[in-house]
Amino acid sequence: MTEVLVEVDDLKVHFPIKRGAFFDRVVGHVKAVDGVSLRIEKGKTYGLVGESGCGKSTLGRALLQLTKPTGGTVNFDGTELTTLPTKQLRSMRRRMQMIFQDPMSSLDPRQNVESILTEGLQAHGIGGDRAERRKLIAKTLDAVGLPQWALSRYPHEFSGGQRQRIGIARAVVLNPDLIVADEPVSALDVSIQAQVINLLEDLQEELGLTYLVIAHDLAVVRHISDTVGVMYLGALVEEASGDDLYERPLHPYTRALMSAVPVPDPEVEDRRERILLAGDLPSPANPPSGCRFHTRCPWAQPTRCGDERPGLRVIGTGTHRVACHWAEQIESGEIRPHAVTAEVVADGAGAVEAHGTLAAALETPGGPVV
């Protein structure tokens, strides 16, 4: 049994929506993260996947206490972070680092690489004197595959991939336990993405790092993660090991997401079943009642879906959790998909295709998307 490094319980982040000319009046809340519970095991990678606006980035930041959670708890290696005083939290930060999506904007353009890498060491008083720090930094540069002459250079003098390596070096130099990587490759060229993904995997092996990788690209997440969590509108809808999730997607949203990810193989593309979702993401300020996905779900039922919010429950092997009232029935084919008309309030679209394609494509509902 592996040790749990991070345990998140019922985490909530609600941003107030303010209106008013003179006095701010709170007129509502954007429920960016609304009750997420998950565990990240030591030395493993937890992948969080979801589309823009699902709250995955906010969850990552709330976990690191970079955004103050509205409710819930985050336990990091035995320490409760949400109630930790500022000073202790600051020294705790050494152990949990972050890698950002845009390597350019996450590096101070006026700092050279040496100063970028020294900053964290100084903040935590690591490495004593200058010579010792330099040695540590030199070692880190080697580890992330940057040349030593990079030290005196500034971020704008590097290519995108190299900048991301600087961002990784900045996190790794502090010898952290956990790294939260928020879309670490999505801003990079295709040929560079693989370099960075490989680097992250090598570093994990070498340093025993624990990752929380947040990405919109299911293929990237599946490739890098031991456990994958799928988020929709502020909540986890499904969680399983990457292989499990791929072979046996139980939640209708996961199925739709999987069928939408393009695979660079014409044979696969031609044969695959496509579940086209109707419409766009509803507003997180005013999420649908009951199951948040029921407005777009081709399997939605007249009972329960609209008024009872499903929690994550274990199905099958014990590690596969899904938040759907009808997961078993959908899997067995007892419940058949039907066409969904997009709600106009929800900026819906795609109903037209959903009709035609669903009827044709879902002759074999529940089959894996291959």
Partner: protein
């Protein structure tokens, strides 16, 4: 006869005090009616510049030179047409869809006005007829409640909707050629799937030709009939979709395919990364631009640019030491 025949297209940007950049360097390809042709490559490979050159949208200023020819429908050379004729061709015969629908729509004009404008300009429709046609168009691209949407402003629509509106404007005059420049890059995957399905349907039903510009090999695999892979301004490989993916001959194509994590491959399989970055190019006149990053680099790679070799089934590649064809290996 192909609908569009691009021959030896080149675009150079010369700026005072700076090195002249050859963004597109002798690109040739042709597009048949009802066909989807993909231009694939990473940032800086010249794919977007190619599309702008074809649309006559490159800045007309000193230092920008366009060479070669692009014969459209057997009679018009898109590269040599004067601005007035080009304005008539754009929107009517050739239309373009951009990556960022928000910046391609006028933010202070309702969607409806923008769509009817196209109809008025190119099809001479006015008043109720134009409004009705606009409603039909929005309906056709899958925008629900089109009569209401027509009165809305771009910022009131979601990203996917805006892209649909833009596609509606592009297909308003039933153009014979559509150029889509990364049309789904700014969108979420589920929305991307909707838009790709829409484009597929349009090509199937109307026989429009589509040039699909993208960096995403997955998108290419799903929609294109033939694919041109660009690197540093030149086509390095060109083939029909299936042979290209089954048997990539150019090491760059091969590397790209190996460096993308696939949804259907398991955890932990090491990705085959291409070393270096797109900055590490050899200038084409000195040899193969990809040579500094290539695993299969040999002596012959340097010295002179490799020629485009045409293999079986019009599968062409620009490489002196190509990846072995699986068919050859097995036989």
């Amino acid at each position: 006869m192909p609908l569009l025949d691009v021959k030896d297209l080149s675009v150079t940007f010369a700026r005072r005090g700076q090195r002249t950049v050859r963004a597109v360097d002798g690109v040739s390809f042709s597009v048949e009616a009802g066909q989807v042709v993909g231009l694939v490559g990473e940032s800086g490979c010249g794919k977007s510049v190619t599309s702008l050159a074809l649309m006559g949208l490159l800045p007309k200023q000193r230092g920008v030179t366009v060479g070669g020819s692009a014969i459209f429908a057997d009679d018009t050379d898109l590269l040599k047409t004067d601005e007035r004729t080009m304005r008539d061709i754009r929107g009517r015969d050739v239309a373009m869809i951009f990556q960022d629908p928000l910046s391609s729509l006028n933010p202070v004009v309702p969607i409806g006005v923008q769509v009817t404008e196209v109809l008025t300009r190119h099809r001479g429709m006015t008043g109720d007829a134009a409004r009705k046609e606009a409603t039909d168009l929005l309906n056709k691209v899958g925008i629900p409640d089109p009569t209401r949407r027509l009165k809305e402003y771009p910022h009131q629509l979601s990203g996917g909707m805006r892209q649909r509106a833009l596609i509606a404007m592009a297909v308003a005059c039933k153009p014979r050629l559509l150029i889509a420049d990364e049309p789904t890059t700014a969108l979420d995957v589920t929305i991307q799937a909707q838009i790709l399905e829409l484009l597929r349907g349009l090509v199937r039903e109307s026989g429009t030709a589509l040039i699909m510009i993208t960096h995403d090999l997955g998108v290419v695999a799903g929609i294109c009939d033939t694919v041109n892979v660009l690197y540093a301004g030149r086509v390095v490989e060109s083939a029909r979709r299936k042979p290209l993916f089954a048997e990539p001959r150019h090491p760059y194509t091969h590397g790209l395919l190996g460096s993308v994590p696939r949804l259907d491959s398991g955890r932990g399989e090491k990705l085959h990364a291409i070393r270096g970055s797109v900055r590490d190019v050899l200038p084409w006149p000195d040899g193969c631009a990809f040579a500094p990053r290539c695993d299969r680099q040999v002596d012959a790679c340097v010295g002179e640019p490799p020629a485009l070799v045409e293999g079986i089934h019009r599968h062409a590649y620009r490489c002196v030491n190509p990846e072995p064809a699986t068919a050859e290996v097995s036989s």
